[in-house]
């Protein structure tokens, strides 16, 4: 008790000032908490953040030209691309030297594939020329200009050198330009020819259809969740199983089942024809188009809407609606003024979940979407696995991510993210 009567700072049992001791114990607690979540944090960092960032970096990274043809790139700086004349012998000699090294390391074909994204024909030009240039000795076999043009007349085309010069930068905006239907040219950014413009259209379609799917999920999920939340436990449990059963079924199985249902010789059309509602030669086209994608994806994503809605509705006390009714409100007023506002957080959570899942969907649109019901993710998949144009795929992915974040921000401004509840 002597401490209490002393003047000066209050001391803990071991004699240190209480303030310091408290701060230390708080810090220790924080460290302990951090240590507890460290495995998860590390896991997320290593398996999620780093790969994504490195993938996104590919959308601007373009070291390959300067790495494969270092001497040529230096020489190209002295060449005026607008002069309308072929580069001089010094450049051809530098190019031969670079190529001999590149062929030895087998990187010239890789550069050919890279440049082929920009100018069709580069791939075979590098591959074919490689076999001939290999035989040249850069020290003694000069001059090279005519020899190279002899090997492939592409080397005598000014466009070839303009393309190489344009894309010799280590950090490029070319992929992002491609991703919005433009391209990098010696004259600056230009629009792609009209018959190759498709990506902006696909972005727009992806957003539009994801919105439609989210809206139809809200319409279908609301009454179901309401029933689930208000029916007696025994019945609602049974209903819940009906909701969860498809949720647990494989995505591919459900998508294929929709194919069986919707195709022209499918269950729905057969039934309609049998009932005489539809003529046999005028069967409905409800698959391999946008309609098919919307139906299948609405069904597949429905549980992601129902579950958050249900858990929010369950927490709305029935006494509120009873109170409203006892004060003379009609059924509609009770619902619209009392019940609905309280269920909005559920709608908000479900909508975000469904919309973000829908925007990145790939396999379902691929199977039931035909040509008009495919999303931007189908193009990303093509560039990742078929064309190997990972730079463009990364640029498309970055844009998609930015769009989602932007929409999320708007959503936060309009609805408020605090209004979102998962239960």
């Amino acid at each position: 008790m002597t401490d209490a009567t002393q003047s000066g700072p209050m001391l803990a049992a071991d004699g240190t000032p209480l303030k310091k001791s408290l701060a230390r114990s708080l810090r220790r607690r924080k460290l302990r908490a951090l240590a507890l979540i460290a495995p998860l944090l590390l896991f997320v960092l290593l398996s999620f953040v780093i790969p994504i960032v490195s993938m996104l970096f590919r959308s601007v990274e373009n070291g390959i030209v300067a790495e494969t043809l270092p001497l040529t790139v230096v020489e190209l700086k002295n060449w005026d691309a607008e002069s309308g004349e072929l580069p001089d012998e010094a450049l051809y000699a530098a190019f031969t030297k670079d190529m001999v090294v590149a062929i030895d390391e087998k990187t010239h074909t890789r550069l050919g594939s890279r440049l082929n994204y920009e100018q069709t024909g580069m791939s075979s030009m590098f591959r074919r020329s490689g076999r001939q240039i290999k035989k040249l000795d850069p020290e003694t076999d000069g001059p090279f200009k005519d020899k190279l043009i002899d090997i492939h007349d592409g080397w005598g085309d000014i466009e070839t050198w303009r393309t190489i010069k344009t894309h010799a930068v280590p950090i490029t905006n070319g992929y992002f330009l491609n991703a919005i239907d433009m391209r990098r040219t010696p004259e600056g950014a230009q629009a792609q020819p009209e018959d190759k413009q498709i990506l902006i259209k696909l972005f727009g379609r992806t957003l539009m259809m994801s919105l439609i799917i989210t809206a139809s999920c809200i319409l279908l999920a609301y009454p179901v969740s309401y029933l689930l939340a208000t029916l007696p436990m025994r019945v609602s449990n049974l209903l819940m199983i009906l909701v969860l059963l498809p949720f647990w079924t494989s995505l591919l199985v459900r998508t294929s089942a929709w194919k069986v249902m919707l195709q022209q010789q499918g269950v729905i059309n057969e039934t309609l024809v049998w009932l005489g509602l539809v003529a046999d030669d005028a069967r409905l086209v409800i698959i391999n188009n946008q309609f098919g994608t919307i139906i299948a994806m609405t069904h597949i994503l429905l549980p992601f809407m129902i579950l958050p809605m249900y858990s929010v509705m369950q927490t709305i006390p029935p006494s509120y609606t009873r109170a409203a009714k006892s004060m003379g409100a009609t059924n509609w007023t009770t619902f619209w003024r009392i019940y609905f506002p309280q269920s909005i957080p559920g709608i908000g959570a479900g909508s975000i979940l469904v919309f973000i899942l829908a925007i990145g969907y790939y396999i379902t649109p691929e199977i039931v979407g035909g040509t008009k019901g495919v999303f931007i993710s189908n193009r990303i998949a093509y560039h990742i696995s078929s064309s190997l144009n990972w730079g463009l795929a990364a640029a498309l992915g970055t844009i998609l991510l930015a769009v989602v974040l932007l929409l999320y921000w708007c959503y936060d401004k309009i609805v408020g993210i605090d209004n979102v509840k998962l239960g």
Binding site: T120, S124, R127
Partner: protein
């Protein structure tokens, strides 16, 4: 003490034994195709050498995955089955090992060198051909009336053959067929297709049937669409049609006209350790010899890539029917054929694909 030594000894033995039980991972397409390789190559090879073979059905994404593995510096595959176009791409990217056919592949029984035996089918320095398959059309015999189609241009003839047809959702093959049916001579097809006007011409021809086309992306789509009567004709791989016709007994027939030959075969990833490379080469030497290639044709209707294997093709292992008439290379079927132009498509694929997809989306 004694117990401890025994334990340690057995632990060491177990570790050594683990290292000796050799394993290799072979990547292929899955389904009936992998099964045919299992029967014809893997099982006899395991029996002969004791090497355990693990299957990975990832060929469809092989190029992208190999590139990712290469960048990560951890290649887990030993031998990979890919189509020739992918092999060329992998070779260009430096992801596949170069092969010397006369050193790494077995000569034919009559002494013909491997390079001569495979002949023109060695389309890339890294590619070891295995089978010849074709992309061709099948049609519903009960839906085409009294005059079954004999010409590929029936696909573009909506008057004689009304109904839906299925085509692959990519420009390759479709553009060629469109040009041929628009009056371009077979030898000029790629010259025409290399020009913007030629590409527009092909798309314009495809435009005439666009509303009647179901576009497929998986090889199993057309067989399903034909079996359900969703389409009256459609393109797919000949082996898929064989299975619809002979194994499932559906009312479907082959339209071999203007079939497009393509090749499928092996590559060995670049950057394997010396030991694994040797093992992979040993497997390749075994699995691509004359008898083994002929054996595979017992299980699936794809033609062996060696000239010397063709006379050895026998009967289907389960159905007991002669396989020769079902081979795309059979003279009766191969009256009018195309060979996939690898060089052209390696150059033009991205350009034409962009146009094709934009046209599809219109």
């Amino acid at each position: 003490m004694k117990v401890k030594t025994t334990l340690m000894a057995s632990a060491i033995a177990a570790v050594a034994g683990g290292a000796m039980a050799e394993e290799m991972t072979i990547v292929s397409w899955g389904g009936a195709y992998s099964k045919s390789q299992l029967k014809a190559y893997h099982e006899p090879y395991s029996e002969k050498t004791g090497v355990t073979i693990l299957n990975d059905d990832s060929s469809a994404e092989a190029v992208a995955k190999l590139r990712a593995m290469n960048e990560a510096g951890n290649i887990t595959w030993d031998v990979v089955d890919v189509v020739a176009a992918d092999a060329i791409r992998l070779c260009d990217e430096g992801l596949a090992m170069e092969i010397d056919p006369d050193v790494h592949l077995a000569a034919a029984p009559d002494g013909t060198s491997a390079a001569d035996d495979f002949g023109d089918l060695l389309v890339s320095d890294c590619f070891i051909p295995q089978i010849v398959y074709s992309t061709t059309f099948g049609y519903r015999t009960d839906l085409v009336g009294d005059t079954p189609p004999t010409d590929v241009c029936a696909v573009f003839d909506l008057e004689a053959y009304p109904g839906k047809r299925s085509l692959e959702k990519r420009p390759i093959n479709n553009m060629e067929w469109a040009l041929i049916c628009d009056g371009v001579a077979k030898d000029d097809v790629y010259d025409v297709l290399a020009t913007a006007e030629g590409q527009d011409q092909a798309l314009a021809k495809l435009d005439t049937i666009k509303d009647s086309v179901v576009w497929w992306s998986a090889g199993a789509d057309t067989p399903q669409l034909l079996a359900d009567g969703e389409v009256i004709m459609g393109s797919t791989y000949n082996g898929r049609l064989f299975s619809v016709i002979e194994e499932q007994k559906q009312p479907v027939a082959m339209l071999w006209d203007a079939q497009v030959f393509d090749l499928d075969g092996w590559i060995i990833p670049a950057g394997l350790s010396e030991e694994r490379t040797q093992r992979a080469l040993d497997y390749i030497m075994f699995a691509t010899d004359t008898q083994r290639l002929a054996d595979q044709a017992k299980y699936i209707s794809y033609g062996p890539a060696r000239a010397s294997s063709a006379p050895l093709v026998g009967q289907h292992a389960d159905l007991g029917i002669d396989m020769a008439p079902h081979m795309p290379t059979d003279p009766e079927n191969a009256k009018n054929t195309f060979l996939y132009n690898y060089e052209f498509w390696a150059d033009y694929r991205d350009d034409i694909d962009a146009k094709f997809q934009a046209w599809l989306a219109q």
